[in-house]
Symmetry: none
Subunit: 385 residues, 2 copies
Amino acid sequence: MRDGMNSRILLDAAKSCILASSPVFRRQQFLIRCVGGSTDQRDMQALRSLEVDSQSIIRAITPALDPTRHKGQAGNIAVIGGCREYTGAPYFSAISALKIGADLSHVFCTTDAAPVIKSYSPELIVHPVLEESYNVGEEHKSSIASKVLAEVDKWLERFDCLVVGPGLGRDPFLLDCVSEIMRHARQSNIPIVIDGDGLFLVTNNLELVSGYALAVLTPNVNEYKRLVQKVLSSEVNDIDAPQQLLSLAKQIGGVTILRKGNSDLISDGDTGRSFTNLIKSVSVYGSPRRCGGQGDILSGRQVFFFFLSVCGVAVFLSWARQHILAADSNSNIRFKNPTVLGCIAGSAILRKAASLAFSNKKRSTVTGDIIECLGKSLEDISPAS
Amino acid sequence: MRDGMNSRILLDAAKSCILASSPVFRRQQFLIRCVGGSTDQRDMQALRSLEVDSQSIIRAITPALDPTRHKGQAGNIAVIGGCREYTGAPYFSAISALKIGADLSHVFCTTDAAPVIKSYSPELIVHPVLEESYNVGEEHKSSIASKVLAEVDKWLERFDCLVVGPGLGRDPFLLDCVSEIMRHARQSNIPIVIDGDGLFLVTNNLELVSGYALAVLTPNVNEYKRLVQKVLSSEVNDIDAPQQLLSLAKQIGGVTILRKGNSDLISDGDTGRSFTNLIKSVSVYGSPRRCGGQGDILSGRQVFFFFLSVCGVAVFLSWARQHILAADSNSNIRFKNPTVLGCIAGSAILRKAASLAFSNKKRSTVTGDIIECLGKSLEDISPAS
């Protein structure tokens, strides 16, 4: 598998030489400088070391399967999303967490969306607790918001990670309730991975995540553009993309950002940890087929609905935190940022699954086919036994 | 694959000789004359060249899979259909589009039908926006119609093709709303493929499509009969079927008609493009098993419920339009009608999928089995890599 991957990297590097004058090439040059390489003979070596990194990280943080561990130790994830209009996105996100190896996967959605999401799979724990404005009279909003929050609070401490946004919609009352849920999660130091309409919410309410080191934003092209406009008051700069990403993450107080595109770029704004190296890139694997849900992980374009990557990030982030807590005092990993590790691992596993699915199903690949390949993707890199 | 196809054609031709005096044979004779062949030694050659055509067309218009393309470029299709009574037809139509290779597939249906269609698959984007009369007081009809139209308008410009009719039902208020949606789509030059109850609507309101070159009608035997009675004020003439189809398409101002039957006949009423050759026929493949959904594509018989072909036509039509737009000025394809190309490719792929499904499942073949074969059908003809 690694050989195939290295061939791909060599091919990419060869293409870069051909495209020496292109913006893509200039971005790669910058990227290599960022991770400490040079812009000349060491290009391929630098790229190769980046790619090997993602596999090593996955192997390091994936917990051993141990019969003495209790249920929940391999991850208890909750997706906040799913409204009258969107039900596919929270389902895809939540089932992905289970297929990667989380023990439990919850969905907190609107009362309308719950029966549909439940019907997709009996594997998920679906809580019909959120409400949208059209269902709530003005005079009841305050009491219903309190009730929503109380319902979520009952569960909150049990979760290793919240995923906010897949299929959330943009109803103002619902978003107000979700803002409160995020504040509570933050008080309890629960990591929050934010995608889709969650990014719409956060872009307009930066204080929800600003300065919270356990927040991860996973924007696609359009979501990233809005974030850059709002936070940096400028337009997206593709030539100096890594530098701009770094500034953005720093400006939001050290949140981690996974910028999805043909290569996924990751930064936590340099938290001062020795490992972080400012920017990481994941560009292995991938599939030329784009379908709703797989989306911009592979294409760099706006996705409206389905989100596969977020729960991969959430599961690996949880595993990375556990691993770091358990690491002995000499281990290098203690100085690494678990949110960055989660982004690298989540991105690589999804890319590999998409690549496997495409090799089987070609043009007819749909999101469910990619989900079915998540297990094998992880098993190939980090066998369970 | 082509050898098997040719054998089938030879067998068909031999049967034709035996049945020299039958109406079927006389139809074939006419067909061959229409496409420029003779009625003697060149019969087999004429038929063979027709069949090779469908495969060449599929290969020509199917877009290459390219990771630099963004999501939606391989087709963003919307089905208008699905009511309290019918939910299978819009699901089958919309999922077919994804399995052929469209990027995104939407369904706009009634509020009742939405949870059911959503529950069939999280891959689809299902909008619960339409309403039927029983759900709407007389005094609210105008405001609800405006709301329905506003909801659809938010999305309309993003679609490469609308499919109107699968499981639509015949509720007068709902059909009024759908008429308005069609008028808006037409103003925006979005192709419309019409089947099922959409044909009931159009037959009674010809102005909705008359003169619109991007409209495709896909009638089965009974729907075709009603169309002929309404437009030509005559009965269906099976002996001169191609000539009658040509007159019908011309009379409705150059819409494209795919007349489904044992051989699918296609005409755009001769728009003057050099390619069109008045009439095209697709008779390759097929399965002796008829089930709801696969329907009269293969049997020439009336179908009441499900519609597989329309979304194939919609996807290939979108691809053909893109291909023609991108073709260089010397390319022959620039003078071809994308709606006719879409019908030929859609018809051939569905026939091939039905044939594959039947070879696996025999008498137990159901519509879902055919859908599962759509990907392989296309891959056999136009490999993704």
